[in-house]
């Protein structure tokens, strides 16, 4: 489904990513963790070409992301993405946030898009808020709307970049619950997060990054059992104590 082959990326002379390779198979959930500044966001943004990369290749469903001939808007419309700061469009109502890309990109009718939007809002428990504006919702509610907005495009995989790290602690679980449910339904997911409880519950593999490199890429049991690298052990002990 998603194949990342030897990706390297530079900001000027500063190398953010060094020779990163991994893959996410259909129906798999892969969690990416690592210290701040290690390049997790950069890597996940390379997957849907929000960031360009200079070396290597990323293949999604047999389509090469870095190929200049690739129709990026079309590719991205099939790859859902959820951001740390929600990024709902503040000038549009909740239902219009869900409708916008369905109508403009997929060419669905307003009514069909609205129905689809309402069904997804219902699924994340926010149908009653359809006509409100993003500023009127709590952080946790906004993030659930953002997930629904991505799902409205019928994506074949979903990318999450620290979806709960901007939330107050009491709102984290309402978002994680939605994500767990999604994972259990078989959605292919690549998730940057430090929520190890989530990783334990649904991840197939865990990737640990440091200084732009993938240090560890292991099955969940293996990773939590005995991470091979010292840095991953150190990182893990720090965040697990923290929780």
């Amino acid at each position: 489904m998603i194949e990342i082959r030897n990706i390297s990326k530079w900001y000027g002379s500063f190398q953010v990513l060094t020779d990163c390779s991994t893959k996410v198979d259909k129906g798999e959930v892969v969690v990416v963790c690592g210290p701040s500044g290690s390049g997790k966001s950069t890597l996940i943004k390379c997957v849907n070409a929000l960031e360009p990369f200079q070396k290597g290749e990323i293949i999604i469903n047999r389509i090469s992301v870095g190929d200049p001939k690739t129709d990026l808007p079309k590719l991205r419309s099939h790859v859902g993405m959820v951001f740390q700061h929600f990024e709902l469009f503040p000038h549009l109502s909740i239902i219009d946030n869900l409708r916008l890309a369905q109508v403009e990109v997929l060419g669905r009718g307003r009514e069909e898009a609205g129905e689809k939007g309402l069904a997804l809002l219902d699924r994340v428990g926010l149908k009653a808020h359809a006509d409100k504006f993003p500023g009127q919702l709590s952080g946790g509610q906004q993030q659930r709307v953002a997930i629904a907005r991505a799902l409205a495009m019928d994506p074949f995989c979903m990318l999450f970049d620290e979806p709960t790290s901007a939330l107050d602690p009491e709102m984290i679980n309402e978002v994680l619950d939605v994500m767990v449910e999604l994972a259990q339904e078989g959605m292919t997911m690549m998730v940057v997060t430090h929520e190890m409880g989530f990783a334990r519950k649904v991840a197939n593999r865990v990737i640990f990054m440091d200084q732009g490199q993938i240090i560890e890429d292991a099955a969940k049991e293996e990773f939590f059992g005995a991470p091979r690298s010292e840095r991953a052990q150190h990182f893990l002990s720090k965040i697990l104590n923290h929780c």
């Binding site: 990026l72 700061h85 990024e87 009127q136 495009m153």
Partner: protein, 224 residues
């Protein structure tokens, strides 16, 4: 002071005000449209486009409006003749309108550009991530938010434009001020007419700037 002849001049003055407002409305609409295109060009990753737009803006911000108005009065008929091969009489109104649009676009451009730059990068990324292309992201996500944020400044600039329309006396257009001046001359009550015109400009600009204040406080509350 004798204000008696102002009453009989009211229909003429109203005509003049209509011309002023017509000039204003078209110049604001055209200026903002052209200014927005210039802002997009300035922010474009195409170096040449961005350089040309930057040059345009800096050029028009460095010369007096009065010069542009008189200059266009003489040059627009020639440009049309060059483009169509025939000499067209253009008239002072059309040439002044083009002058205002092109001059004000330079100022509107800078306002819109600041507005676009104030929208967080994450909003653009979210728009792209949903599959919108550049034009859709701009039209549906970035510009609506930028205009909302910049509405008070755009209106402020338009109030300045309202006052600047009086410069069309230079090409002989009978706008509000020029009508008042000419009627004052004829009736020998120039002081009274100018005083009256001043009051009218003040009242209209004052009302408009109150609207700007209202808008500003409303936007401040509406932010999340």
């Amino acid at each position: 002071m004798d204000f008696s002849s102002i009453v009989s001049a009211l229909p003429d003055l109203l005509q003049g005000m209509l011309l002023t407002l017509k000039l204003l409305v078209f110049a604001v609409a055209g200026g903002i449209a052209l200014g927005t295109l210039l802002a997009l060009a300035r922010l474009s990753s195409n170096r040449l486009l961005s350089f040309l737009a930057g040059f345009y803006v800096n050029y028009f911000r460095s010369i007096p409006l009065l010069l542009v108005i008189t200059w266009f009065y003489f040059i627009v008929p020639f440009m049309l003749a060059w483009a169509t091969g025939k000499m067209h009489p253009v008239g002072a109104f059309a040439s002044s309108l083009v002058a205002f649009m092109m001059f004000e676009a330079a100022y509107y451009c800078e306002i819109v550009r600041a507005g676009i730059q104030s929208i967080p990068k994450g909003q653009v990324n979210a728009a792209y991530a949903l599959g919108l292309n550049y034009h859709q992201a701009m039209r549906l996500v970035v510009l609506p938010q930028a205009f909302r944020k910049m509405a008070p400044l755009l209106l402020q600039q338009s109030i300045i434009l309202f006052q600047d329309t009086a410069l069309v006396y230079a090409v002989g257009l009978m706008d509000f001020l020029n009508t008042a001046r000419s009627r004052g001359d004829i009736t020998g009550q120039l002081h009274e007419f100018l005083l009256f015109a001043g009051v009218i400009y003040f009242v209209l600009s004052f009302i408009a700037s109150r609207i700007v204040l209202r808008l500003q406080s409303k936007l401040a509350v509406g932010q999340n």
